[in-house]
Amino acid sequence: MKSSEVPGFRPRLKVLNREQVLAIHSAALEILEKTGFKMEHPGALRMLLNAGCKVSGQDWVRLPVKLVEDALRSAPRQIDLYDQKGNKTMPLVNGNYFYGTGSDATFTVDIETGQRRRSTLKDAANFARLIDGLENMDFAMSMSNPVDAPIEDIYVYVFAEMIKNTNKPIVCIADSGRDIAKIYQIACQVVGSEEALQQKPFILNYSEAISPLRFPENVMERLIFCAEKKIPVCLPSGSNAGGGAPITLAGAMALGIAENLIGLVVHQLAGKGSPFLFGPNVSTLDMKSTIVSYGCPEWSLTQAALADMRDELYGLPIWAYAGATDAKLMDAQAGAEAMFSIVTAMLSRANLIHDVGFLEYGSTSSLEMVTMANELVAMSRFFTAGITVNEETMALEAIERVATGAPGSIFLMDDHTFEHFMQAQFLPKLLDRSRYDSWEQSGSFDLYKRCNIEAKRILSEQQVEPKSTEVLKGIEQILQMR
C-alpha cells in the first residue's frame, strides 16, 4: 500500500506582526531621510550625491527612500557560497541556515592546559581544522586575534591559516582596502582565477560601520572593493541596545537597519547586483559591566525579528549569531546561553549564523565550546525538522503486531523499530545518556571534558585535503609583501 503523506509543518518562530515590521521599517527610513548619517569616504559620498542624496556640511548625508527601494530591488535574493573545491554548500536563501565560528577573539582557552591565554596563529589553524571536521559547522572564521602575527597584516595571516586548514567557506574580516586586496589575491589563487572566485565565491567579507550612523573611510573602502569584485559582504553595525543604539529594542533595530540600508545603498551603487548579506548586530550593552552581551535573550529576539522583516519585506538573506556565551568557562551558563541562541536562530531561519564557540562575550574562543555547539545544532536540527506524519510513521501495523502478538512481543524487537530508529530518534554523541555505573566506569567525565577529548581527536585525525604547493608558495609570497 502506498503511504500517503500528510502535509508537514516545520516549527517556525515568529516574533513580529506585519504592523510591527512596517513600523520599524518606517522608523529606519525616517532616520535616513531626516536624521542623516556621516559618510567619511569621499568616493561613497560622491556616489550618494550623484544618486540624489542631500549633503550638508562636509559629510552629513540625507538619503531619499527611493534609493533604498532601488537597492533592495537590485541586490540578489540568494547568495550562494561554495566550499574551496567548488561545491555549492551554502545557498543562503529562504529557510536555509548555516553555522560557523566568529572572528577576532583576543584570548583562547588552551586545549591542553585549560588556561585562558592570548590567541596565536596556531589557534586560527586549529579552529579552522576543527570546523573542517565538524559536520554541523558550515564555515570558518578566524576565532583569533593572534599575538604572533604582524599587526598590519593580521587578517591576511589568519586568512592564510584558515586556507591551509579547511576547505569549507570562510567569512573573513579585514582592516582596509589594502589587506582585503591581499586576502582577495589569496582567494583567487585557491580557486585559480578572479572569474572562478566570482562564479563560485567561497569567501564573505564581514565589516562593521560605527553606530550611531558613522561610516568610516576604511570600512567603506572594503565595502566598495567587495561590491566591485562581487565578493559577498555584510556590514552589520554594532547597534547594541544601550551602547551604539537606544536602550529599547525597537529603536536599536530601526537604527541598525537604517545603517544596514545605507551600506546596502552604497554597495549597490558601487556594484549593482553584487551580493549583500543583510542584518545588523543588535545585542545589548550590559548595564552593570558595559560588555556587549553574547548570551542575552535580546540578541536572539532581535535577529528573530529581523528574520520576520526579511520574510515580510526585505527578501535578502540575513546575518546572525548563535552558540556563544558571556560565561568565562564552558560551564552550565555557557551551555544554556549557547543552546538558547542556537535553537532560536534556527527556528527563525536566520541564514548565516556566526560566533559559535565564543566565551566571555566574544573575547575568548574555545575549541570545546565549538565542539559542544556542533551537537546542539544537531539537536536543534532534529527539533526544527518537526514530526513526519504518514502511514509509515503512524505505525498502526506495528502497534497491532506488538499489542496482539505472541506474549513477549515488544516494539524493540519489531522490524519497524529496526527500520526507523536511526531517523526517528536524535542520537547524541556527546550529550551523555549512559547509565550511572557505566558513566562512572568511563571516568565520570562532564560535557566539557568529553568535548575536550573529542576536539583533540578531531584535531589529530582530521585529514584536510592540502592546497597545492603552487598555492602555498603564492600565499607565502603575498604574506611577504609589505
Binding site: 592570548r118 586575534n145 599587526i151 558613522r214 536602550i247 548595564m287
Partner: protein
C-alpha cells in the same frame, strides 16, 4: 553644622532638581563652595561609585548621579575661592589615531569627572602629535588612551613614544584601556596602568596619584 545628608541623598538618586536646591540652601546657610564640593558632592559620588563597583546599581543610575554632580559643580563654580582644591587631578583623554570608537572613552570620562577629576576630552582618531601638543598645553596629571581595535593598539605605543621623545613622559601617568588591551600590553608599551572597565579606571587613576 551641615551634614549634607539631603544633598548626598539627591546625588545618590540622581535627582538633579533637589540636589541644586540643596546646594543653594547650603550656600545660603554659609557653607563654602569647597566644603559643599568635597564633603557633599564628592563624598556622595564616592558612595555611588562604591555601590556601582559592588554591582548594587546600574550604569545609567551611576551616570545620572554623575550628571547631577556636574550640574551642582557648575552652580558652585562662581563661588570657589582662589586656592580651593576643586579637582582631584587633570586627565587628558582620547581615542588613539586610526580608531573612531568613543563609547568606552566617553564612559571613562564621565566616571572620572564624577569622581572629581577635571577632564579634557580630545575625541577620537587623535594622532600622537596632538596628544603631545595638548599635554604641553593642559599639563595633565594623567593621560588616558583608548582603542577598541587590535589594529589601532600600536597607536597607543606610538603615542607613548611621542610623549617620551617630547620629554613629557615623566611628567604624566598613562592609563590605557579598550577591548583588546591587556595588563601585559600596558607593561610592554610602558604605560603606567591598564583599566579593564570604566569603574576600575577611576580606582586606577586615584591609585596612580596616591589619592583615595
Amino acid at each position: 553644622m551641615n551634614d549634607f545628608k539631603a544633598l548626598s541623598e539627591a546625588v545618590n538618586k540622581g535627582d538633579n532638581k533637589t540636589a541644586l536646591v540643596e546646594v543653594q540652601k547650603s550656600l545660603d546657610a554659609g557653607s563654602s563652595a569647597e566644603e559643599i564640593l568635597n564633603k557633599g558632592l564628592i563624598t556622595a559620588m564616592n558612595e555611588v561609585g562604591d555601590k556601582f563597583s559592588k554591582g548594587l546599581i546600574f550604569v545609567p543610575q551611576m551616570l545620572r548621579s554623575a550628571k547631577t554632580m556636574q550640574e551642582c559643580t557648575n552652580l558652585l563654580q562662581p563661588f570657589f575661592q582662589e586656592g580651593d582644591i576643586t579637582s582631584k587631578g587633570k586627565v587628558l583623554i582620547g581615542t588613539v589615531k586610526g580608531d573612531l570608537h568613543d563609547i568606552g572613552k566617553n564612559l571613562v570620562s564621565m566616571m572620572l569627572e564624577g569622581a572629581g577629576f577635571t577632564i579634557t576630552d580630545l575625541g577620537v582618531d587623535i594622532p600622537p602629535e596632538k596628544f603631545v601638543e595638548k599635554t604641553k598645553e593642559v599639563k595633565p596629571d594623567i593621560i588616558g588612551l583608548s582603542a577598541l581595535l587590535s589594529t589601532t593598539m600600536p597607536a597607543m605605543a606610538q603615542t607613548i613614544e611621542a610623549l617620551q621623545k617630547a620629554g613629557l613622559r615623566d611628567q604624566v601617568k598613562i592609563i590605557i584601556g579598550g577591548a583588546p588591551v591587556t595588563e601585559k600590553y600596558a607593561q610592554q608599551i610602558n604605560a603606567d596602568s591598564y583599566a579593564p572597565d570604566a569603574g576600575s579606571a577611576v580606582n586606577k587613576a586615584k591609585a596612580l596619584l596616591g589619592i583615595s
